[in-house]
Amino acid sequence: MSEKQVTIFIDDVAYQVSSTDNLLAAVLSQKLNLPYFCWHPAMGSVGACRQCAVMQFQDSTDDNGRMVMACTTPVTEGMRVSIKHHQASEFREQIIAAMMTNHPHDCPVCAEGGECHLQDMTVMTGHSVREYQGTKRTFNNQYLGELIGHEMNRCITCYRCTRFYNDYAGGKDFGVFGSKNQVYFGRHRDGALASEFSGNLVEVCPTGVFSNKVFSAHYTRKWDLQSAPSICSHCAVGCNLSIGERYGTVRRVMNRYNAELNGYFLCDRGRFGIGFVNAEQRIRRVKGVNQQSPVALTSLDIAKAFAHFRNKSFLAIGSARASLEANFYLKQIVGAEQFCAGYNDDEMIVAAQHAQLLAKHKPPSLAAIEASDFVFIVGEDITQTAPRMALSVRQALRHAAKAKAAKLGIASWQDSAVRTSAGNELSPLFLLQSTSTKLDDVAEQSLLLPVGQFANCIRVLTALLQKSVLNRHFDLQQALNQLATQTPLTEHAQAFIGSLFEALCQAQQPLIIAGCSSCQGQTLAEIEHLLQEIKQRSAADATQLPKLPQLAVVPVSANSVGILSLLDEHTLSISQVLAKLKHQKNTFQGVIVLEQELASLSDSEIQQLRAICPTLIVLDHSSTRLSVLADILLPVAAVSEGDGHYVNYQGQVQRFYQVHAPVLPIQESWRWLDTIAGTLTVNGAEFSAQSQTNKKHGLCQSLAELHHYFRQTFTDWPQLVLDKIDAGTTKAFARMPHRASGRTAQMANISVHEAKTTQKIDDSLSFSMEGQPLERASDMPFTWAPGWNSNQSINQFQRQVNGQLLQQKAAQYITVSEQVLKNPCWQLTEPEASSRVTTCAKQDHIASADSMLVSYVQQANIYLSEWQAAQTAEFQMLRASNLLSISAALAKQFGITKGQWCKVVLSSCQGITPRISHSVISQVVIVEQLPANLMFGNFPLSPSLAPCLEVYIIAAEPQALSDYLSAYNDQLMAAKKSKQALLERLKANDQHIPIRLLSGGLDDD
């Protein structure tokens, strides 16, 4: 069905709407009000709630018309409908009245109050008088974990929750129970929701059944939140967020619509991982700087502290979780030759390959991923490392079902009809992984192999491709057999590649997703060969070859690609930094560590770094192993407390805005760097922004000034087009909604003086409720429109339903160069690499009678894999006990049964000295498809252990097991306690809020 514009008449007014829409979407796209519940822009229509009734007329002479549900009615040329017709509007009011027979009148204590879609729709229909005399039905609520609250009595049975959780996100542990007016949405019994996307229930539910438990615990109304547009700092997808704050505490994260990226949904790491901003681990004080004034730290204090470093050389370690500005500034301050991105040698090789791929292939947006009809994921469990992307992959797989339904004349928005007619049809997904993942259930085939063999598989795929082009009478099986003699692949792997090849050849929009977390530069290089092969050959003969797949490489952190753009041939690895410190003792004054926890270093290596580093300067927001050892420690702003840019996996540069001003002396990293730039630089005083923009304190006051300065001073600063900030003439956008209430009463215990609102010149947002209309904003701090208080108000700001925002800026992309590959250290040496692969493959045998050689892979975890999010107390409470998955062969070898608690001893291979051993108590799962030389689990191993290990498994002794379990339990209890303590502290804090915070200004004068 091709899209075109058709004319329809709504209440006798002509409108141009898209022919592929349903009537409800068309009506909402025209910014007309029509209430609805079960329809959702991303999930389509099911016609359950009957709320969007309108009258449809056959022609202009038809006065009677018939009632239709707008959401299930396709738009046709010349159609005539009426929203205002009395029959339709009375029926819509009755629908609300019917829902209200059971909906409790608990709005005053409901977390949804003030942003409730049900409230909005009730008012929209005009229902205000209650006729129902009877009692209301009641339900028991469930414990759904630490993140989501449950209050079933409020349910109006719109089915959106189950349609999101089960149908859209593929969740299994939730569903619909019961019938008649006792329909229950929940789990089969109490327990934490297992889906990575459970938080979306809060936004999907039109009323207060599902609530953000963390937000509710320290609750405030939506209209009292101060919000700003932000970017998720927890993975490389770069989902757009709206972060809400009150009294200096971050309260919650809501989805911020972006048609190309996250759409309407976030993952739970993005939504709840913000807890680190409030956590106890935050660094709030400067260390190693003498403060002269009793009131505040001044730039003079800093200048004094750094004075004796003038013209001294420093090494610097940047970070993929720090902003683009901070990393860039750091690199300029110390010089490219002294800059390290925080990567070890392996990670540098991967980064170099990644840079090469990014330079050649533009990665697809999530919207483009959803349009794919073939997905191949290599070596990255995106369900845990980039969960929002995994949700998009799930949608891509529905391509086949939608295509089948289209043949029956069913539009893709007819959700229930598509699912009943083609529910089981899935487009092909192939998984080449070393752990099982949460996409396994929708994968056509999944192959588990040790990380080292991925490259081999892709090499075979490339070879197949070459053969198929060269040979007119190509026989797949024969070709595979030939290739099998050249590369050591099991039959199972061969069959996998065979089917993969066939599916790839049939795909119209194929997609490959790879990742950086398994640290395999070789794999990325082979993918590059594959794409190159398809590209070159398709130029010659377009018909026989598969379409060129799109490629998305998922790096580890929010700003990984940002830091990739800063790498060049001089960039150091961590080991090179350590070597330089060791061997050029007198050259370097020390190391500046920017928001970097150096997770890949063992404790002893950290100690070693400290020992050989004369001066350790650390800038970070939360306590790390390094921050406690630092000579000078500067507390920096977390993502919600500052401005800056992150670059997502596509290379898209996205701005995050300050939500609230942090308590001094906390400030953005780039501000600290700007303060110390003059003293540290090799170029002397000229270097600092001081001389360029000498306005107040002689420092960059805003991000705009910083960018201006960068642009003038450094040729290698990516020329980013930034918001035009002209605070003097243009009115800013408000961070607070119009209804921010009781502005004087908020602090009446201290003063009834209404705080002055200050305009921070950093951005186009004011710390106030005064501002320009929201629809003019490109990045909206929150959404609200008259009559639309809930997140559903987004339809008032889209050009059309599911379309771009009214003022959507064009996405800006950063250029990534391949310069880093010029350094021979980071090039892949072909023979070496392949020998590494084959040695791993050759170890596919039993080493001795009582131990085996295996590689261990730690599974990624949505809550705990990302360092910042893992600080969140609620996530700590979700830590699972140890679980190890082993092959059936290994289980047989050690006589282990499924689910048994075991002691697992892992040690480095014989011959490597010193021999290191690691023993863990873990429950064992047997995975049939797992090769004997691979196992995976959810616990980390000491980084000093090599990937290939000797393993020995015995049943755990009762004492050891009970010790482990009680330690595990203690951990959970400690997390629970710290969560409670934190909550008490925050609530106590609310009682005496400094006026400065309310005004939001850093400028106290």
């Binding site: 129902y132 049975t157 019938s179």
Partner: protein, 465 residues
Amino acid sequence: MTVAKFNTVITPLTQWVNLQQPLDFTAYCQVGGYQAAKIALTEYQAHEVLEIVKNSGLKGRGGAGFPTGMKWSFVPMYAPEDKNAPDNKYLIANADEMEPGTFKDRLLLEGAPHQLVEAMIIAAYTIGANKAYIFLRGEYHLAAKRLQQAIDEAYQHQWLGDNIQGSQFSLNLYLHCSAGRYICGEETALINALEGKRANPRAKPPFPQVSGLFGKPTIVNNVETLCNLPHILKNGIDWFQGLAPNSDAGTKIYGACGRVKKPGLWELPMGVTLREVLYQHAGGMQAGLAFRGLLPGGASTDFLVAEHLDTPMDYDSIAKVGSRLGTGGLIVLDDKNCPVAMVLNLMRFFAQESCGYCTPCRDGTPWAVEVLARIEQGQGRIQDLDTLSKLCDFMWIGKTHCALAPGAVEPLRSALKYFHDDFLQHIEHGCCHYNPSAIAKRRQVAQSSVQAVTTSSNMTGSANE
């Protein structure tokens, strides 16, 4: 076409029914069983059978009265080697007889199970289905036993399974016993239940004929509808049409329940009058009772009253007087039973059986129950009658996801029309006049409340002082 010789059978459906001991395979064959299936498989192409069924004028006996042949013709047919052909099509016998006051299918299922099996072979052959299900009401234990036995026998004698009687046609027939929901009688809810999903009706389109069970073309037919097929094939169209005096063809199993002299089931020509069924076959009202009204075709049809008794019981005639033929099972109301209580009872059933999918049905039916219950208990208010008629409109056709709620509304809205005085009496007198104990109790309460008022006013009086 072999047109059968003139046939004198006038009760084809029930002629072999034996509730004590249904005919087993051999006995069924002896009376001419499986001959029709043989005719279909050996003498006709599938499209020829379809043509016969179309021309016979057979309409669905489940309640809606949709022409069976036309329903079948929507099933896509494919040449044997067609690559686009689905790997399966399905036939389902809807034996989920849960309509209150209706028990006609039970007679056929328990009394002549082989007749249904034979009919399903013919139907499956016509639409090209190789798998068929009987979706049986869960409580029909005896029918389940007898059907399973008939199916087993049919397999034994190569009337089911691969290559039936050497015809190249294969059919596997399965018996599925429902877990028991009224809504499973709705064909798409039935399909969902059969797939192991929640028994919610599906959105249409797609219609089951195109995309039904497991997304494949599917026909769902009522048991009684299917049981006509062998006879049509054996005796011909003219015979079938000759059975009925009016425009509709064939016979219909009519039933009656309530306080009539002889409740029961009778196979009669399609289109006999209500009066004939009620007085000639059911024997009229029991002694001392007078006729008040009846639901002509199960609980989800509108009341008809004395003035309608000469209406012929066919689809169009009953529709003309404002009701539906439905299942043809009369529920008769006498003058000693309260119509409000009857409607309340039915509404309770529908509220209980609502699947909970769409708002008008899920929340509207319990609301109607709440109002009716109050009226019935003498707690009603005059504005409740407005609420009830509003609710009737609220749950009417086109406003709900399926036909359950409009069906639930039918007895209520017609009762409001024909028994308006009874509703008014309940409200005005605060009790039910059909219930002597309620009247007595009401008097008692009234007296004691008068006393209470007097005492309490005395007390307040003294307090004020």
